[in-house]
């Protein structure tokens, strides 16, 4: 009798659809529809906002592929995301290992480690523009006083430095997020494993390689995927720190598309570049997940 009621009520699919409908419709209207529309736009020749455009086939694609700046921004995107993922994971690992230790104030820091992530990007841009300023910035002052450098480094003003600076600032914002996720897995590794390893005479390094790493691998895979997808998509941090400059040195895909679309007003070409970016992300995501699921089997 109870089973009957339960089955009847729980398996009423209409109710489930009814509850999930609002979010699905909302996401469809604000994300899926614009995506399709942008793909459509990439076949038109819209030159300014509000223009209807005319169908021109693959012309935009040919033009974008022949654009040298587009190729360069592709390479910059690779450097930007690769370095971000690497540094963020390393720093997140360090933070997670530290927070896994017993020390005074550990609970407090565990809660507040997300502080850099809580602060809006515009504030981070202002803070680091201020700290890294060549003439007034505290970072150059300390570096000069300690004789590490002889003349101030133009962190955000020179082509040689700006990319690495932006990468470091972005890393500072995001590593806590992944540290929390990695810490979560560290905490569910059974303590007995370490105790047994100690009795067998394993060094801390061996313990790390044979116990910690294998346990963390599944989460690390997820973290690397999320981390790289988000890194490729970063716009505001780069834009507010550098505006893509100096001399396009930090012009990654999102910056390239934004400038094409909203500064040069070549909307269709911007859409084409964005479609390329979408396809690359799609391929990356699928291949990455495929490889991982194959390895697990």
């Amino acid at each position: 009798m109870i089973e009957k009621i339960k089955r009847k009520v729980l398996e009423d699919p209409l109710f489930g659809y009814f509850l999930v409908a609002p979010i699905v419709l909302w996401v469809f209207a604000t994300l899926f529809y614009p995506l399709l529309r942008a793909i459509y736009m990439s076949f038109l020749n819209i030159e300014f906002l509000g223009e209807r455009g005319r169908f021109i086939g693959w012309e935009n694609y040919a033009r974008i592929l022949g654009d040298k700046e587009f190729g360069l921004s592709f390479i910059r995107t690779l450097i930007w995301s690769g370095a971000n993922v690497l540094l963020q994971i390393i720093l997140a690992f360090f933070a997670a290992l530290v927070l896994d230790l017993e020390f005074k104030g550990q609970k407090f820091i565990r809660n507040w480690i997300l502080l850099p992530w809580v602060i809006p990007v515009i504030v981070l841009a202002m803070i680091f523009r201020w700290m890294l300023d060549p003439s007034l910035g505290v970072v150059n002052y300390v570096l000069e006083k300690t004789n590490i450098v002889s003349s101030p480094i133009p962190f955000l003003g020179s082509v040689d430095w700006v990319m690495i600076t932006a990468i470091l600032v972005n890393t500072w914002r995001w590593f806590p997020f992944y540290a929390v996720m990695i810490l979560a897995t560290l905490q569910i590794i059974p303590v007995q494993l370490y105790e047994a390893a100690k009795i067998d005479g394993a060094s801390p390094f061996q313990q790390f390689c044979y116990i910690t790493l294998p346990h963390i691998m599944p989460v690390l895979v997820t973290v690397i995927l999320i981390c790289s997808l988000w890194a490729v998509n970063v716009f505001d941090m780069i834009w507010l720190l550098t505006r893509g400059g100096p001399g396009n040195a930090t012009q990654t895909f999102p910056i390239f598309i934004y400038q094409k679309g909203f500064q040069e007003y070549r909307l269709s070409q911007a859409a084409t570049a964005a479609v390329f970016m979408f396809i690359l992300l799609l391929i990356y995501g699928t291949v990455y997940l495929r490889t991982i699921t194959l390895e697990e089997k």
Partner: protein
Amino acid sequence: MNTVKQFFQTLIKYLAVLLLLFILVSPIYWIFVSSFKPTPELIRVTPTFIPHTLTLFHYLGLLKETNFMRYFLNSIYVATGSSLLVVILTSLAGYSIYRCRYIGRYFFFHMLLAIYIFPRVLLLLSLYPVFAKVNLVDNLLSLVITYVGITAPFNVWIMRAFFTSVPLELEDAALVDGANRLQILFKIFLPLVAPGIAAVAINSFLMSYGEYLFASILIISDEYKTLPVGMAQFLQGYEISWGWLASGSVLIILPPVIGFAFLGKYFIKGLTAGAIK
């Protein structure tokens, strides 16, 4: 011998903790003390690590001479509105996806996660003409609509742990007592998943409060600008007022930090549970 070794282990441990603390806190400390320094001290070639004199000069200037308060209220409005809507949408969707059985629920779940490979600039390119058509450009509502779409899917994932941890027996008992599913959702689930709602609320608030990309294009007139777009103007030009930037930074940080102080632990719980599944 052993005590020496232990001493060094403790020393290294606390050095690592200090290093982590330094990385996390030093930039925030620096902007905080800078905001209270009088201008001559602020732009001195040898900076003072502990300010000699404290002043509210920059704060008063920022509030009186700029539109900061306007931007601030706009940001709060947009973030609160989006956060409220996201909470409603994700509570309903969370219950549906994690607790109801029907064909297609996994599809919905994956669809919601898949949108994170959509480049945001791509969405902006085609959202602008759509909003222009319905006269919502230069209107804060367009931001609310967009932010809900962008932040809701990730928050469905955050809700997962909270919904799946409610024991099945509770639901069964209520069913036997003759409650219908809507009553179960509102009377049993919502109180139990309150921490999840808190996590979603703070997360979507933070994401909408600091969003720059969409706000920079969809808003045109100064009176509707949000904090990120309004403050970005101060970063341009040759004469940058560092005092305003510093005091503005501190004021902008306040609402997120206060919110996080109360609700942050729930978000961390959701993120943690999501990571280990």
